[in-house]
Amino acid sequence: MKKILCVVLALLLSATVLVACGGGGGGGDNGDATVIRVDLHGWTPTVNETSTAGSTAYNSPKYIAAEFEALHDNKVKIEWVRDKDLSLSREDVGQYFSLAISNGTCPAISFTWGTTFQERGWYVDLTSYLEEVNTYETAADLAGKPWKEAFDDYIWSLDAISTYDGQIAAIPLTLFAGSASCVFYNVEKAKEYGFVDPNTPAGEYTLGITDPFDWTAYLDYVSEAMSEDQQYLVDSNNYPPTASSWLMQFNLGPAYMSYALDYEDSAEGKVDANGDGTVSGQEKLQAVVDGFFNPVTKDYASELLLKEKEYLSLLTDANKDSTEWDNGKGALKYDGSWVYTPEVNMNRAFDWEMVPAPVEDDSQYTQDYVDWVSFEESQPGVDLYLNVMRAGVTQDGTVDGPIDEDKLYYAVEFLKYLTTREANSAMIEEMNTSIGAVKGADLPMWLEDSAFIDCQFAKTDSVNGWPGGFTTSISTQMDTLFSQWVAGSYSGTDDQFFAAWNDLQVQGAKDMAASLGITLES
């Protein structure tokens, strides 16, 4: 009896070991298939295939992945990442990936806000792949051309796409619908404040259409709203204030950035040091060290910070509360353009409209750098951009380990497949929020149906916002410093704040350069 028991136990043990061994190497339950873990952030397909009243199913990526797997004879298996909390801050996402890397579970394809963690060496350089033909593309005007040509050129100069040492670290999938931020306004209040002619029939409002709704107009509107009630303005995206606030990214930053990049002084030179007509990442880092963004010495830099403070210091916790907007008393809500659909579906009892991001175009520094253009001519920022993570495509799951050629191949191929016009359009149509990054992709239904698409959109020379702290560590310190200054709890003068801000920013630029092996002149 004991012998039989021993034999049974030995067999069980052997089976367990065999199963455990078979589970390694990315095969798992998928036999010999190479498993590619993919994190599409808010665009990850839902587990449920059908919608309920409380949750909307999102299926397109699932179907696209199934087609991709079939094309490769099921030698690749796409596995969706579902354990990453969408509400995590950038710092927390950094911790998520640090943990995933140490556990050997880093996704091969991930959303990390583009180049956020470039100093950590986490990204695969995708530059050379973009020169390859995307063989999956069947659209006549894109087929047979380099993958890169499926996207508008300006995208490649975005700081969120290209690293400071000139590598393309992220592939864009979706763009903001004309502008990332926008202003929802209550029509009755707009009439009361004189921004809309009271005799205008419903649905024919021209605010933001015949004339741009710029930063000055926005501040005037805010002033009227807040003279009635603090809660008549809803802005939960700029409060509490941070060094990389939405204003810095979308409303004020790009216009001032355009001026700074064009600034030239006979003694100091210019940001585009080699004069080739484009500002490289290295030149940008050097410009920070050389003082082109220093608010102590550059009036345009200090003006930007003071304008930010002027607005941000108006905000309190009360402005995060949307009760007054919801009940029709509020005058305006500053939010993302992707909020349009949920706002429509609230079936508000009051008339409201939406205008694109108000941009600063009145300052002596910005007036020559902002053009108001049509939706088609706008150059919106990237909403969803995906990296290939080194630790997700190495043989041992570490950042520096030897590359698993199959994983890298399938990761890049899947990105190519996702960015065919047909796949891109399918994702855009179903999500119905942002627009496709691939040229000619279908527009979301809401955009075609709304007057928003007829508005004037700000186009700035620089598509990038004002630089922040470069590394996550310095950015965090700058956030603290900046929020103290805005709140009035900073103990020094404005000049002392400017100096402290610049010291941190210069340190951040130097740290970033050092991590990327870039030599800066001091």
Binding site: T50, S51, T52, A53, T56, N59, S60, Y63, I64, A66, E67, V344, N345, M346, N347, E422, A423, S425, A426, E429, E430, N432, D442, P444, M445, W446, D449
Partner: protein, 147 residues
Amino acid sequence: MKERRLHFRLPKKLLVFLIIVAVVAVFLLFDVIRMTTFDLTVVSTDPNPVVADGKSTCTLVVELRDGRGEPVEGHNIFVFVTEGGGNFTQQRNTTDENGQIVLNFRPLRATRYQPATDVTVKIYDESNSIFFLIPKTIYHVIEVVEP
């Protein structure tokens, strides 16, 4: 011989609990019965079928009437897709004086991943309940065809 009388007394807490359950059940029953008095119908779908070319839309007119057959104004009607794919311009609408709402729907473009399939939508009245949300609900199938 002295007659023995049976005394059956419910514990006080149990009694209170049963009363609460009874009241809740009555309210629930009220809303269920009330819900059945409403008539929610899709009176037209135009065009039907609709082409899944990523551009074409169809218009649905949904009508709500009460137990006497009168149109009901001011009720919030919510609609969403349960099977198939597509988008409504607005998912929540309020019935007009004719008890009607008008919905614009665009099916997803037929692709190699998602061929054209009929779309089932769930339509319900969010306003017919008094105590509990027991909405009058209907399902409607929109025919969708390949371009």
